[in-house]
């Protein structure tokens, strides 16, 4: 313990934390805070996908579906006055986690492109069902979601409608997600994941049950995705089937790979970049997709292992400081 407080790394992270905590007070106007909140939610999402793609090496295109299912479960429970936000969120998270395991069991027998396209189909079907099962999901859009609202805890009224408060909520969840994933991948379980990623046959030969660990990581990913979905729906108040679409899954995949698959920081960098770039490119109007694609291409061609993959490869010291 004593060493921790003397290590520069520790204090560097404390500093970063302080900056993040101060952010809403430095950003002027609620647009940037909104972006910060969205980025936060996506960091949770992408970090969880990174667990599946980056560390276990399974290219999943179903993550958007789990995000959507989480959001819809959480929202429907609230809209139908079955539960309030927090218990609804809990139910959504558990439900989606279990669903992830049930879906993963058969799907993960398929490998590489077969798994990727198979999961892509899952997303497409999920979005279709959410759109067409109107009685349950409200069709093209589900609105009027209460969210966490303005509870009074120990005499203190916490207004989750205020951007600042929600920012801190998301920030905390994001930090805990990152810490959790970081710890998992640096544990025996995480090593099993990476063993599967790098040499499945050898992994099996040293006693790793590939199916067990693939399903584990897949359903953990789904579970965290649902958490992000719940936070998103609670903040937006309205959701639509597009959040479960294959397009969403593609975006998430791009964020993981551009940021740097299999690196904790990569998920964060990728998310920030892919949220900020389109905002910046608003100025380019109809040239937006063109330039966006071009930048994407250039990044991935010059940094095939993603931005942080490249950065961490520069010097072991960097790799040691930036996870």
């Amino acid at each position: 313990m004593a060493t921790r407080f003397t290590s520069g790394k520790f204090w560097a992270y404390m500093g970063l934390l302080a900056v993040l905590a101060a952010l809403p007070w430095t950003l002027k106007g609620n647009y940037y805070i909104y972006l910060a909140i969205m980025v936060g939610i996506y960091v949770i999402l992408v970090t969880s996908l990174n667990l599946v793609i980056g560390y276990t090496g399974q290219i999943s295109l179903a993550h958007g579906a789990f995000y959507g299912i989480g959001a819809y479960t959480c929202s429907i429970l609230q809209v139908r006055d079955v539960l309030t936000f927090w218990p609804a969120l809990l139910v959504a998270v558990i439900f989606t986690g279990v669903l992830g395991a049930l879906v993963g069991l058969p799907m993960l027998r398929a490998r590489g492109p077969y798994f990727a396209i198979g999961t892509m189909c899952l997303s497409i079907i999920t979005a279709l069902v959410l759109l067409n099962w109107q009685g349950l999901t409200g069709g093209t859009s589900l609105g009027g979601i209460p969210g966490p609202g303005q509870p009074t805890i120990a005499g203190v009224k916490i207004d989750f409608y205020s951007n600042k408060v929600y920012y801190y909520l998301v920030l905390i969840v994001a930090i805990f997600t990152i810490l959790a994933v970081h710890r998992i991948v640096h544990s025996r379980v995480g090593r099993a994941f990476m063993a599967i990623r790098e040499e499945e046959e050898l992994a099996e030969a040293i006693g790793v049950n590939p199916m067990r660990y693939k399903v584990l990581s897949f359903s953990m990913g789904a579970l965290i995705a649902a958490l992000a979905g719940g936070l998103y729906s609670g903040y937006m108040g309205a959701i639509d089937p597009e959040i479960a679409s294959v397009g969403m899954s593609f975006n998430l995949l791009v964020m993981v790979l551009v940021g740097g698959a299999g690196t904790i920081s990569g998920a964060v960098v990728g998310t920030i970049l892919l949220w900020m770039l389109p905002e910046v490119l608003q100025a380019a109007e109809e040239y937006k997709p063109l330039i966006f694609g071009l930048i994407l291409l250039v990044i991935i061609i010059f940094m095939p292992r993603g931005i942080m993959g490249k950065v961490r490869a520069i010097h072991p010291r960097i790799a040691e400081w930036i996870p």
């Binding site: 793609i53 290219i59 058969p106 799907m107 027998r109 398929a110 490998r111 590489g112 492109p113 077969y114 798994f115 990727a116 396209i117 198979g118 892509m120 189909c121 899952l122 497409i124 079907i125 279709l128 069902v129 067409n132 294959v246 593609f250 995949l253 791009v254 790979l257 551009v258 698959a261 109809e286 040239y287 937006k288 997709p289 063109l290 330039i291 966006f292 694609g293 071009l294 994407l296 291409l297 991935i300 061609i301 095939p304 292992r305």
Partner: protein, 286 residues
């Protein structure tokens, strides 16, 4: 009964477009192990080229436009290989996928800027010729789609199986190192394959477009379906791609007809999932 016949015909025609796309994808996957989404954009641009060809040269020479479109887009496809995919050949497979997505965005975004967002029709003369085979009704254009697709598919099949280049391509897709050992230039082979694949996709676009409308957004759906097809057929299997394409078309139209049209698109994807559950490596693995 009449309906079944008509639905089979509908399926056969949509299926033939899927088959062409899938064939292109399968060849490219076989050689470079990259899921080339950009073919969706190639398909769309192929349709646009045909639109302008017909507008400038006139609908009469519609069929003359086809080879032209194919050649142009084959060159475009080759360019994407040379200046994008080849650069990440040694990188992990997923990287190639991102390159494909990037290219798709560039091509689609580009055509939005060039051609605009609105939908237009291709005035093919064969659209208005309606043929009746007993209960089955089909326009000459749609019959042409089927015929041309089958012809192209057969040609490609023969090319791959019989000709020397075809054999070299197959050898390369089996093992790059071995191929280069016996003196095959892997780069040239993949260049050819990307050209061929793109040409096929463009042909699919140019043929199918006159039966509905042309717009920059038209590419995504077919390429997604084509992916389902090559997975069903077993990645990289030429035979699987062709058979799978027609099969998928049939399943879709029959499913929509006799189950529900609300989930028309779900059938393709649902079936794929079921297949993967029971045969995780597709139906015809090569």
């Amino acid at each position: 009964m009449e309906q079944i016949a008509q639905q089979l015909m509908n399926g056969l025609i949509t299926g033939s477009a899927y088959a062409l796309m899938a064939l292109g994808l399968a060849l490219i996957y076989g050689i470079m192990h990259v899921a080339n989404f950009a073919l969706g954009a190639i398909y769309m641009i192929g349709a646009f080229l045909m639109y302008y060809f017909v507008r400038w040269v006139g609908g009469g020479s519609y069929l003359l436009g086809l080879p032209l479109v194919m050649v142009v887009m084959a060159c475009v496809g080759a360019l994407t290989e040379r200046y994008a995919f080849r650069l990440v050949r040694s990188a992990p497979h997923a990287t190639g996928f991102i390159v494909a997505l990037g290219l798709y965005m560039i091509l689609e975004g580009g055509s939005c800027v060039l051609f605009g967002h609105d939908w237009r029709e291709i005035a093919s003369p064969y659209n208005d010729v309606i043929l009746n085979f007993g209960p089955v009704i089909v326009t000459l254009q749609r019959l042409l789609i089927f015929v041309v697709c089958v012809l192209l598919a057969v040609c490609v099949y023969v090319f791959i199986m019989k000709t020397l280049t075809g054999k070299m391509i197959r050898a390369t897709s089996q093992n790059h190192d071995a191929a280069s050992l016996v003196g095959i230039s892997v780069s040239r082979m993949s260049l050819y394959t990307f050209g061929l694949g793109s040409g096929l996709a463009a042909a699919a676009g140019a043929m199918i477009a006159p039966t509905f409308m042309v717009g920059p957004a038209m590419g995504l759906e077919p390429v997604t379906k084509a992916f389902v097809v090559i997975i069903l057929g077993g990645m990289g299997s030429v035979r699987g791609a062709i058979i799978g394409g027609f099969a998928l078309g049939m399943v879709e139209s029959l499913g929509a007809a006799f189950v529900t049209s609300m989930y028309k698109d779900a059938f393709a994807f649902g079936i794929l999932i079921i297949v993967l559950v029971f045969k995780p490596t597709g139906l015809f693995r090569r």
